[in-house]
């Protein structure tokens, strides 16, 4: 069944904009077993935010009603009104992204509905100017969601970035586009980054080739990998463990959350090195041992 974002309305309220909760949002979702509309998020999700426009010019009531009762509902988790008010429609995964490909390569093709928070926003999509409160609310909302659920700005995409050639949203006269043009998403993401400090995914340093004289240098220790460690620390461990084939390269292993899966993977990795004191905690020796596997003896123990 997966999980629901039970604090979604509270996160939306942190923007300072009015929030309207639509009955049943806590348990509303796409598909699910038997098509019962309870399909929630599995472990590691949501890990993206996808921004849309509605391509409609009607009342907020009509738009939200369509999203909640139209075919393949719920269409989107949230609906952003032209006045900046945020309508909470579904706390579980929704239908609105569909077929496409992830620009940042984390989510597999045609699989974004189950992995993202989708925001629809009222705009006709053919040049209607976006009111300032709506734009401001959009930025603050995405920033708040990212901070609450550990989704970095790089994992915020427009519908047209996910489905180029098939979609154009969001588009329209705004801080991010002129006339009916599609939004400049780099600019939007920059504004989102400015609103709330979110640690970006760590950039994996290129493999260090030992110089001719030897002397391989271990990449800097990112911090202890353990329950409760920061997003960037966990991502650095995940990236290094993927690079060394310890864990698979899939979306769940890029989530920046040190849970039981990472603890067990780290424990098994340490056991595979013959460590009798394996504890599943990524300390300095584990880091040095892991990073040196393919290039040099471990600088800590020489093995």
């Amino acid at each position: 069944m997966g999980t629901s974002l039970e604090d979604l309305a509270d996160v939306c309220r942190s923007t300072g904009y009015p929030v309207v909760e639509h009955d049943g949002w806590q348990t509303r979702g796409r598909g699910g077993a038997g098509g019962d509309k309870t399909g929630g998020y599995e472990a590691g999700a949501p890990n993206h935010i996808i921004v849309h426009h509605s391509a409609s010019q009607t009342s907020i009531e009509n738009d939200v009603n369509y999203c909640l009762t139209g075919p393949d509902n719920p269409i989107g988790n949230l609906f952003l009104g032209r006045d900046g008010a945020i309508h909470v429609m579904a706390g579980r995964a929704a239908n609105t992204n569909g077929s496409g490909q992830d620009p940042c390569g984390i989510v597999s093709d045609d699989n974004m509905n189950a992995k993202s928070i989708a925001i629809e926003a009222g705009n006709n999509g053919v040049g209607e100017p976006w009111p300032i409160p709506q734009q401001d609310s959009y930025v603050k909302l995405v920033a708040a969601l990212g901070a609450a659920y550990g989704i970095a700005p790089a994992q915020v995409h427009s519908h047209f970035e996910w489905a180029p050639g098939r979609k154009i949203d969001p588009a329209g006269e705004s801080n991010y586009a002129s006339g009916a043009d599609m939004w400049n998403m780099e600019s939007f993401r920059n504004d989102v980054s400015g609103g709330v400090v979110i640690e970006p995914p760590p950039v994996e340093p290129p493999p260090v080739e030992p110089p001719p004289s030897g002397g391989w240098v271990c990449p800097p220790f990112p911090g202890e990998g353990n329950y409760g460690c920061s997003y960037s620390t966990c991502r650095a461990w995940q990236d290094a463990m993927i690079l060394n084939g310890v864990i698979k390269d899939n979306a769940a292993n890029h989530d920046g959350v040190w849970g039981d899966g990472m603890h067990n993977a780290c424990f098994n990795m340490q056991r595979s090195w013959g460590w009798s004191d394996a504890d599943g905690i990524g300390g300095q020796h584990s880091w040095a041992h892991l990073r040196s596997r393919k290039v040099a003896p471990c600088p800590k123990c020489g093995k």
């Binding site: 796409r30 598909g31 098509g35 849309h52 426009h53 509605s54 391509a55 409609s56 010019q57 009607t58 009509n62 738009d63 369509y66 999203c67 139209g70 075919p71 393949d72 269409i75 239908n95 609105t96 992204n97 569909g98 077929s99 496409g100 597999s108 093709d109 045609d110 699989n111 974004m112 509905n113 189950a114 629809e120 006709n124 999509g125 053919v126 519908h159 489905a163 050639g165 098939r166 949203d169």
Partner: protein
């Protein structure tokens, strides 16, 4: 576009590759039905091309599954 209709949603927006095959086929049936009625409008070419990609991937997945089933069947028969 009418003044009252929500137009961002197309049938293919309900597609997720991890859904069960019957659900995915049902979505694709609706995609093709929708495009059949719009085929004369060139604006929908992007949707048609994307739907073709999705269906090709679905077919490859089925072919790979079938190939593996034949391998397993052959192995069992030879035991």
């Amino acid at each position: 576009m009418t003044d009252t209709q929500f137009n961002d949603f197309d049938p293919e927006d309900a597609y997720d590759v991890e859904d069960d095959p019957e659900t995915r086929l049902e979505v694709l049936e609706r995609v093709v039905a929708d495009l059949r009625s719009r085929r004369l409008d060139g604006r929908f070419e992007g949707r048609r091309i994307d739907a073709l990609r999705v269906i090709r991937n679905f077919l490859n997945e089925r072919t790979n599954l079938e190939d593996r089933l034949y391998e397993l069947k052959t192995e069992l028969e030879a035991m």
